[in-house]
């Protein structure tokens, strides 16, 4: 099974986390539906929009981190998590 798509443990954890996020967002939406609102960004966003912005921003933070420094990626991961939480709350 692990051989078919050339899985590795880290990528499996990565996709597992994404899947959990999607499931979590779905449950959250069912429990209390998202209302479009405007925060720091110049446009109205829903919860899903803010998560997408956070995740995309996180991906680019990782890329910039790898391009700029040789330090471990855990730092970039930490910054990204903070960014995603901040985006969910204030963006």
């Amino acid at each position: 099974m692990m051989n078919w798509m050339a899985w590795t443990l880290p990528t499996a954890i990565f996709f597992g986390a994404i899947a959990l996020m999607l499931i979590g967002m779905t449950v959250w939406q069912l429990v209390s539906p998202s209302v479009e609102r405007r925060g720091l960004l110049p446009m109205a966003t829903t919860r899903g929009d803010r998560l997408f912005i956070g995740l995309l921003g996180g991906a680019f933070i990782h890329l910039a981190w790898m391009a700029a420094t040789g330090l471990p990626l855990w730092w970039a991961l930490g910054i990204s998590v903070v960014l995603i939480l901040a985006a969910m709350r204030w963006a």
């Binding site: 590795t8 880290p10 996709f15 997408f52 995309l56 890329l63 790898m66 391009a67």
Partner: protein, 290 residues
């Protein structure tokens, strides 16, 4: 009558979901898996972490290809979008002339990419090509195979020739959809042609322009066959764009790990720009919020 409510209609979406899973999601996940491994053969793989990403991000050749790609994509957007709008505005609105114009405009869109490359390769030759000979007769020393500026000009003109029609046709359909009442109201108010364009036609074209910009950006960002056939990425590397660098890496050298990392970076850039264009253009039409 009592309505029966259930969510069984969702099952109708299952075939689409399965198709998309196997045509897009599974391959994309596999590419992510490849990008963190050094792959020797089907059974021999070594986990290398972020090594390929670091290598790709620091590769000078790829950075230059990325820069060229941005210059190319923004240049053709700057040319094709205004030109497409202008052509759509100038097109006859009804009758046989309108049909004829539509057919002529649609012709370049029907030609396969590699054939377009071949056509322009011959058309641009300074010894036998119609375009090349004409430019040479004008006293310009033109050779797209040896001079990077000539090669760039040829690739740009080729793309404009191939794809401006798409923008023009989309804008034409957008213009035709504006009810006459708007123009009558503008005429009563004594609006100038420019005012009609700026305040009636352009706002009504927002959606078709959004589609045009997204399609042209994505398509030009992935351009491969035309420059590959026309110049082969040369002279030197001057017209080597991202997808050609990727093909060299993946198919030429069979470096699946670095090629996968490269593909994902490529994908993220396209995703970012499409999101930016989409959000900005959706925002533009909304106006100030009450």
């Amino acid at each position: 009558m009592k309505k029966i409510e259930n969510n069984r209609a969702w099952f109708l979406v299952v075939p689409v979901f399965v198709l998309v899973a196997f045509s897009a999601i599974v391959p994309l996940m596999t590419v992510v898996n490849y990008s963190v491994q050094d792959i020797f053969d089907a059974d021999t793989r070594v986990f290398v972490g972020s090594e390929w990403y670091r290598e790709i991000l620091r590769d000078d050749g790829l950075q230059q290809a990325l820069l060229r790609q941005f210059v190319f994509s923004f240049a053709i957007l700057l040319i094709e979008i205004p030109l497409g709008i202008a052509i759509a505005l100038a097109m006859p609105r009804r009758g046989a002339r309108a049909s004829l114009t539509l057919v002529v405009l649609a012709l370049p869109l029907l030609i396969p990419w590699n054939v377009v490359g071949t056509i322009w390769q011959i058309f641009g030759r300074a010894d036998i090509g119609l375009g090349g000979v004409l430019v040479t007769r004008l006293g310009i020393d033109y050779n797209y195979a040896a001079n990077p500026i000539d090669a760039w000009a040829t690739v740009l003109v080729m793309d404009v020739w191939h794809w401006t029609s798409l923008v023009a046709l989309l804008c034409f359909s957008g213009l035709r959809a504006i009810p006459d009442a708007y123009f009558q109201a503008a005429r009563i108010d004594g609006a100038s042609n420019w005012a009609v364009f700026r305040f009636v036609q352009l706002p009504k074209l927002k959606n078709v322009l959004l589609i045009s910009v997204l399609l042209r950006f994505m398509d030009s960002f992935m351009i491969y066959s035309e420059p590959f056939v026309l110049t082969g990425g040369g002279p030197g590397n001057s017209t080597t764009f991202l997808s050609q660098s990727l093909a060299r890496l993946a198919v030429g050298q069979f470096d699946l790990g670095p090629a996968a990392a490269f593909s994902l970076i490529y994908f993220l850039i396209i995703l970012l720009f499409c999101w930016l264009f989409f959000t900005t253009m959706m925002q533009l039409g909304r106006g100030p919020r009450p």
